[in-house]
């Protein structure tokens, strides 16, 4: 046991600690700050902000342990946090929504400070350090938005950094420094991460210390009239602060659970348009504001005017000294907030009224879900990064390729593959379910073969096939009609479609019969079509009809003698003329055939 030097009485451990560290005085300083007029709910806002910052530090450090800033690992590590790690979604959600709460609370705190006149002498430095904290916090939001390296963060950051580039004199160099080179990549992430997790939080801690020091130096700005006598900060005000912090946390946790954490879009892809790109909601007013500045004048909207407004905000302590200064300040703040609110509303309303934006958001959400399915597939994420998952996914790329290259003539279930309508009416077959039993049944239906769904809008409208269906097939006796059904089953089986795999397997006997009928005299297909070496080449070769290889060959060169030869209607030779590279052709064919990865139902969470 330790003894004090002067006498022999043992020193208690806590006394010893206090002698060495002076913690009691410190605790007293912290807890027994005078609260003029006693504890009040209106004094809680500053504490809630410190609390939010504390949450961000705690959750941020935990996220840091799992985050990997590079363009091949940033999205991937965030995916891993969100979907694979214990409680990762909750942690990330907490970080995300607390950031939002912090922005709201900053606005409330600022309003209160201005309305209560707490910015006036002698509290100028308190006010200015607060303004700097506001800017630093917005800097955290801006840098944090990019870190998941998803489409949303990527495109929003391109906009933000291009705005940096219009800064007078040093813009382009400044942008290059921020971006970490001439283009966005690894060093954009390492730099944003260093700012987000190191520089800005460090600066915030320094300024919070300064802010609280100034606050303690001049004391709290009491709200008059004082309803009760002065009291110490502990315990009544601490209790109110704690309850307010709990309320903030409760709202954040509610949002986290309701949305199952922060969203994670598809991986950043500079080659993939992202019309759904919008900044975080509290920057929407700036985003909207920029729309009003014609080309060449953006510098006013993005830099000059915001800087002037910030300057006016910082000048409040001086303006406040004039006779009507305080009223001006309060009015100015309200006008700013109302203006920002109005611009935010305009931005939201404009997007709501725009059907293209709704489609873009839908596509973005669909791709975000799809890439997660692919990341969790047995093949997993390749070392080149998750961005390739969607690029090589028939389900994602097929509709886009179809809309771009096929939909000027063809349709897919009545639309262009993506759900839109091309400007010209359909002039070739609808390819949804191509080579499937139902599709072929329609083709061989005398009432349907000449509709635009099949040959109706092509030059084969009055061709041999249509004639055959409308005359020969229409006159089939019941026996032949039965045989036709078997022939359809057999021809459709050539495609080996995933969607019919079970039916094809079950109908082996029918298929054998149908194959014979196809080259037999009753169906008479072989008069115009070759089938496994038998028959005449007038119409397309039906060997392997609708199979992957058949479609690749056909789309690659429909004018090949095996298919339409010189009678090819308007179809481009996609492969032969190198309109589509082989990889895209394969994606298109796989999509048409319904061949893409689907998660097992049990594995789906």
């Amino acid at each position: 046991m330790k003894r004090s030097p002067s006498d022999d009485r043992p020193v208690k451990p806590l006394d010893w600690l206090d002698q060495r560290t002076g913690y009691r005085k410190l605790a007293h300083e912290v807890l027994f700050e005078n609260v003029p007029g006693g504890a009040r709910w209106r004094y809680v806002w500053g504490s809630t902000l410190v609390f939010c910052f504390t949450i961000q530090v705690i959750t941020g450090i935990a996220l840091w342990f799992a985050y990997s800033p590079s363009s091949q690992t940033a999205w991937e590590s965030v995916y891993y946090i969100q979907h694979e790690m214990w409680g990762g979604w909750f942690l990330r959600g907490l970080h995300h929504y607390t950031a939002q709460a912090m922005t709201m609370l900053l606005a409330v705190h600022l309003m209160q400070v201005v309305i209560d006149g707490a910015y006036k002498a002698p509290r100028e430095f308190n006010f200015w350090s607060g303004i700097i904290l506001l800017c630093l916090t917005l800097g955290l939001s801006l840098t944090g938005y990019l870190l998941p390296w998803d489409q949303k963060g990527y495109w929003a950051t391109r906009v933000a950094t291009n705005i940096v580039a219009i800064t007078p004199f040093i813009g382009p160099e400044l942008q290059q420094l921020v971006v970490g080179g001439a283009d966005y990549g690894h060093h954009t992430l390492t730099r944003f991460f260093a700012l987000h997790a190191g520089v800005i939080p460090g600066a915030i801690i320094l300024f919070i210390v300064g802010h609280i020091y100034f606050f303690r130096r001049h004391g709290l700005t009491p709200k008059e009239p004082r309803r009760r006598p002065d009291a110490a900060f502990w315990p009544d005000q601490v209790l109110r602060d704690a309850v307010a912090c709990l309320a903030v946390l409760a709202v954040v946790v509610f949002l986290v659970i309701r949305t199952r954490g922060a969203e994670l879009g598809a991986p950043a892809d500079p080659s993939e348009p992202f019309p759904a790109a919008r900044p975080e909601w509290y920057f929407l007013f700036l985003f909207e504001f920029l729309k009003y500045f014609p080309g060449g004048t953006e510098v006013w909207g993005a830099i000059v005017i915001p800087a002037l407004l910030m300057g006016l905000l910082a000048a409040m302590p001086f303006v406040g000294n004039w006779r009507l200064g305080h009223r001006f300040n309060v009015g100015f703040l309200w006008v700013m907030l109302a203006g920002a609110g109005w611009l935010t509303w305009l931005a939201i309303a404009e997007d709501r009224a725009n059907p293209d934006h709704a489609i873009a958001v839908n596509t973005a959400e669909r791709e975000a879900r799809r890439v997660i399915e692919l990341a969790r597939s047995p093949a997993g994420i390749p070392p080149t990064g998750a961005v390739g998952l969607l690029r090589n996914d028939p389900l994602t790329q097929g509709p886009k390729l179809f809309a771009k290259h096929c939909a000027s003539c063809h349709r897919f279930d009545g639309h262009d593959g993506l759900g839109g309508q091309p400007k010209d009416p359909a002039s070739a077959a609808d390819l949804k379910g191509f080579a499937g039993r139902e599709w072929l049944t329609g083709l061989l239906d005398p009432n349907r073969v000449a509709t635009p769904h099949y040959f109706g809008a092509t030059k084969f409208k009055a061709g041999k096939m249509v004639k055959y269906v409308q005359e020969d097939v229409a006159g089939f006796p019941p026996d032949d009609r039965k045989l036709l059904e078997k022939t359809i089953v057999a021809l459709s089986a050539e495609a080996g479609l995933k969607s019919q795999r079970d039916r094809d397997r079950r109908d082996t006997a029918l298929i054998v019969e149908g194959k014979e009928a196809l080259v037999g005299t009753r169906m008479n297909c072989a008069e115009c079509h070759v089938f496994h070496g038998k028959g005449e080449t007038v119409g397309p070769d039906l060997t392997g009809y609708g199979s992957r290889q058949w479609l690749l060959d056909f789309i690659g060169n429909p004018a090949h003698p095996r298919f339409y030869g010189d009678r090819n209607d308007r179809m481009p030779l996609f492969g032969e003329d190198k309109v589509l590279p082989q990889a895209e052709l394969s994606l298109l064919v796989d999509w048409l055939r319904g061949e893409w990865f689907e998660p097992a139902p049990v594995a789906a969470k």
Binding site: F65, E84, W86, G88, G380, P383
Partner: protein, 181 residues
């Protein structure tokens, strides 16, 4: 400033306020801290993949003289979010032994995991980190060696008389027992 009488501070009320402030304040910090801690502890539930045997080399590539030769082990490497097929996940020394069989030793020193060298001049294995030395069959040679156990042998199989397949595993370093990680 107007004068206020000294407020009566009932001890009980004060105690309740103090207790409530402490408890509520505690809750607000515990929730984010716990969620962070949970993610930090996530690695505890990750087990190394217990792969089956993999093809390592053709028997013809293993010297008939009985001298060990080092080969990389290619397998599917699962690294957090990445799954990469056919990449080196480790290395083994292969050595022909009597009866046409092959002995495989993991190259990692059981002491602290350094990569042990085969020294053909001395015809033994030597760890460059802390000087453990091992005989050709993996046994500790020098009783002063820091290694707590012999080099780790791995299950091998010669398939079709020509292919050497090895069940590759890593084992915990620094302990007497051979415990897979």
């Amino acid at each position: 400033m107007e004068h206020h009488p000294t407020p009566p501070a009932p001890d009980r009320r004060n105690f309740l306020a103090k207790a409530a402030a402490t408890v509520i304040g505690g809750i607000t910090v515990v929730i984010p801290a716990a969620s962070g801690l949970l993610v930090l502890l996530d690695p505890l539930r990750r087990k190394s993949a217990d792969g089956g045997a993999v093809f390592v080399a053709n028997l013809a590539a293993v010297p008939e003289s009985g001298e060990p030769r080092k080969f990389p082990v290619l397998a599917t490497r699962v690294d957090a979010w990445n799954r990469t097929p056919d990449v080196p996940v480790g290395a083994v020394y292969l050595q022909r032994v009597a009866g046409g069989a092959v002995r495989a030793l993991n190259v990692a020193c059981p002491h602290a995991g350094c990569f042990v060298d085969f020294k053909s001049a001395r015809n033994n294995y030597h760890c460059p980190c802390h000087n453990s030395s091992f005989a050709l069959d993996g046994k500790v040679l020098d009783p002063k060696s820091p290694s707590p156990r012999p080099l780790d042998t791995l299950e091998t199989e010669v398939r079709n008389g020509t292919e050497v397949w090895v069940k590759f595993r890593n084992f915990r370093a620094g302990v007497h027992e051979k415990i897979p990680v």
